[in-house]
Amino acid sequence: MALELRSIHKHFGAVRANDGVTLEVQEGELHGVLGENGAGKSTLMKVISGFIEADSGEVHLHGERLALQSPDDAIKAGIGMLHQDPLVFLPLTVLDNFLLGSPGSFRLNRRAGEQALREAADRYGFSFDPGALAQTLTVGERQQLEIARLLWLGARVLILDEPTTGISAAQREKLFEILNRLAEDGMIVLFVSHKLEEIEQLCHRATVMQRGKVVGHVDAPFSSDQLVEMMFGDVVVSEGRPDAALGSTVLELDAVTVSERLTTVEELSLHVAAGEVLGLAGLEGSGQRTFLQACAGLLKPKAGTIRLGDVDLTGRRYRNFLDAGVHYLPAGRLEEGLVAGMSIAEHFELTSGNASFFVDWNGAEAAATRDIEHHFIKGTKESVAESLSGGNQQRLLLAMMPDDVRLLLMEHPTRGLDIESADWVWTQLLARRESGTAIVFASADLDELLRYSDRIAVFFSGNVLRIVDAGTTTPDELGFLIGGKESVP
């Protein structure tokens, strides 16, 4: 008896989030699902738990094919999903929360509910008090509450999507303990993470995904080298990188400490020269974004200095960074770059640098039409940003960039793009570089990092583990560094 996925396909536009995923998990198995952000893990879990419907493919549980059209269908079939942010009504008590999604009739059976809650708590060692208010619970305890509720609803398959985000080490240990006990009771547990060590510590078996596909299944004990290799795939560094003459130092960081929420980058010293491309490697959330935002003037360092050329910009406003020639293109193209609801022409006019009080719309539209052609954007001057594909959004963003950028900071320049767009993006970037722009970009794509960078800074849990010369580094070495291993075994 098992959970079985057969050839699950799910497309979002041109993006193949799940591209023929097949997977089998036995009863009592703690199964890890591993992959970089965007590998398709979350989509797959949402398909299994009924939040989204697959385009094609089948889900079988205990030999029976399931028709999953809603989370309700899933939970009735015994599949429950624990969300990253457990849905808990804070002003209510633990018991009330537990009863909220209770099975069966309209009438609440408080006593039965309380008993079920206590039984689950005793059995799995949950530590909360049913009468306490939910807002007094820690995130870890809220997860326990949610697990208890899913069990009461009859879940036999439990899906956890990145459950360790935002909980303490002790809470994580507790969670792992509970999951182990659930597996001992014959539960199927799907554990989604991009953290190698968690999978290694907890799971019996793991499936590695990359770009919507299953790369392979691995049994415990795992070798992290193998997992890393599977996560990042085979990298063929083909053509030699075009070398450009490096100019004077554009960006200089001296012992910069900066933090944002959970991530802290400590005492980072680094410099980037004009015409240089610096790649930022590392697992998602290892400090690359924090670093980029500090360089863009969006985060104020707690210590250290940031200089741009001769100018000390430490603690200055974003505006000053802009004026100094810094340009930042974050990962969220439609969230932190373009404005949904505004047309291409309006975008061009917004960033044109014109200062006249009235806008000459005829001129602006003519210019927009020219720019659209020039940058091969598939769209018209009236197209609103959200109607563009990812590739065209990226083209628009690059087209909007002013000419005199000295330092370009970029996250995932080609993520989600088709090959043609990705090539075009790099053609543009390299042309910028030719004219002396320093480029710092973060990427999860080893191929891209190795192919276009001069140097690569590898981030691991908030720190730069090492800065390597891209020309002399192999994909394997880079993969190990990303996984936190200083040396190749």
């Binding site: 993006v15 917004l350 009235f358 109607s387």
Partner: protein, 354 residues
Amino acid sequence: MNDLVRRLRVPVVSVVLALAATWLLLVVVDAPPLDALWQIWNGSLGRLSKIPDTLIAWVPLTLAAAGLIVTFQAGMWNIGVEGQIVMGAIGAAFVVRELSGPPAVVIVAAFVVGALFGIFWALIPGYLRTRFGVHEIFSGVALVFVASAIAVYLIIGPWSRTGVASTSGTDLFEERYWLPTVGADEYSWLAILVAVAAVVAIAVLMRGTRYGLRLKAVGKNHHSAFLMGIPTNAYMLSAFAMCGALAGIAGTVQALGFHHKLVPSISGNYGFLAILVVLLAGFRALWTAPIALFFAAMLVGSTQLSLRLGIDSSLAGVIQGMLVLFILVVGAWQAQRTRRLARRAETATTAGGG
């Protein structure tokens, strides 16, 4: 053409639905529907003598709506506009009561001070929003109550009529400080001129200028706008200030051109109603003028229901409420539809282009 049809769909469908529901309601309460609608028409725009009365409601409604266009463009719900009207009226009343001089000077001063009071009252929620992230709806609602309380305090306290403490209002202002009119009982041409100028100016500002373009970016995605180098907080505050100024002018018009004194309910709910006008206008400045006219006609014309047909006048309130509900429902339906279409279109283009 197609575009026009799409733009007109929400207002037209909601008005038609509301009229249909009104029809039903009138039948239920045993009133002649056609006659009732005719009376509303005849009591507002259908007769020359009634048009000034309709404009009395139209002017403050339009001014407030024009102001709200700006804050909506900046992505904010300046629900406190009602209180900003009250403060404008208080400012204008202050000038007219305390200052004496040539009427032209005093009236201009009243407009300026009224606008300044409105700006001040609008900047409070603006500041709380940009500095502390307090949502402008909550602070705005609170400030409406505070403004009303100040007006009531002035009316029964320091500005009360001699020997009288009534919330029915202050003494009438000196007649020379009333806004100029053409005929004896006509509404002030100056008030109408101000409202028309405001709508046109706001329409141009929002659509034809860099300020309007940037404000739109701030409103639609202030994160992206900030990254583009637009000082988003300053733009948000300026939008509040502009709306406050227009609301303050609306209050000034109410005080100097209509009531000729300060009364507690001087804002007349026009601020709240203006929110609906702007929603119905789809956030387009020029559309607020005709839609405000429709609302004004409903307001003014419904008096005829009780006068001539003996229908309880609260029915007019029910009709207005229904209209609002239908606008919201149809508007939501339209928005959902647009989103669905957009998603479909997006899928199509991405699939086609990459």
